[in-house]
């Protein structure tokens, strides 16, 4: 019996701001307010990537954040999913080709779900989390079958 098995149904999310204008971040927080109340589904923001199943990344990757993004991704336990929230992280957005930007998030770490918008509505972010959840369930299944073999 593994205790961890019982934690799989709740999705813990680490929010990483790689240089966003804070617009997307406010919409993420809106998803936790009583109007949307994501926490009733067991989805919550955590303070360390070591506790997280999902990385929620906002903003384009600034040069200063480049190696930090990579490190946080590597520190997140497997299986993990990465959601990019906002136009900036998806393509660079309004900061596209800026002198201090290393590019969109998928140039630095693998991304599973993109939530477009500037900023996206909380409903869109919640839908993105749902997609990541489905992806994680599949990953867990394939890890289990690989272990069983």
């Amino acid at each position: 019996m593994k205790l961890n098995k019982y934690f799989e149904r709740s999705l813990w999310v680490f929010h990483l701001n790689t240089g966003s204008c804070n617009g997307c971040d406010i919409e993420i927080v809106a998803g936790l307010t009583p109007r949307y109340d994501l926490e009733r589904f067991g989805i919550k923001l955590v303070g360390s990537p070591k506790h997280a199943d999902v990385l929620l990344v906002t903003g384009p990757v600034t040069s200063k954040m480049l190696d930090r993004v990579k490190r946080v991704y590597e520190q997140t336990p497997d299986p993990k999913a990465v959601i990019v929230v906002g136009a900036c992280g998806t393509s660079g957005g309004v900061f596209y080709n800026s002198y201090n930007i290393s590019g969109s998030v998928d140039k630095v770490i693998p991304v599973d779900v993109y939530v477009p918008g500037c900023p996206p509505r909380p409903e869109a972010i919640i839908n993105g989390v749902l997609q990541a959840w489905i992806k994680l369930e599949n990953l867990r299944e394939s890890m289990k079958t690989a272990q069983a073999k």
């Binding site: 961890n4 930090r68 490190r71 336990p77």
Partner: protein, 113 residues
């Protein structure tokens, strides 16, 4: 020594205390052993999370509790490190700086005047 100590507000017994430590300790060890063991050893997953910053060696990562400007000086270390180097504490160096800067100012005033 191992007897029961009774006071007005309860009792204390060394034997019960030792037994409780053993029982609670073994429960903690049991639950801990049921925890996550699938992390990848000798990778970043093994290292502490310091807001995404690399882990430094113990000597250079020592921070005194009253160093409230640590984040500030760490972020601006490209600016501070040369400044700290210039501050040698040697009065001859400081006098040298005053003379050099005075000469530069005089030359600038002389050229532009």
């Amino acid at each position: 020594m191992l007897g029961l100590l009774e006071t007005g507000s309860g009792f204390w017994s060394a034997i019960i205390w030792v037994l409780l430590v053993l029982v609670i300790g073994s429960m903690v060890i049991y639950i801990r052993n049921k925890g996550e063991d699938s992390y990848k050893k000798n990778t970043e997953q093994d290292k502490p999370f310091i807001s995404g910053n690399p882990e430094e060696n113990k000597e250079s990562s020592h921070l005194s509790a009253n160093h409230i400007y640590w984040g500030f000086t760490e972020a601006l270390k490209g600016y501070y490190n040369p400044l700290i180097k210039i501050h040698t504490g040697n009065i001859n160096d400081y006098s040298g700086w005053i003379i050099v800067i005075t000469v530069i100012i005089l030359i600038m005033v002389g050229v532009s005047g």
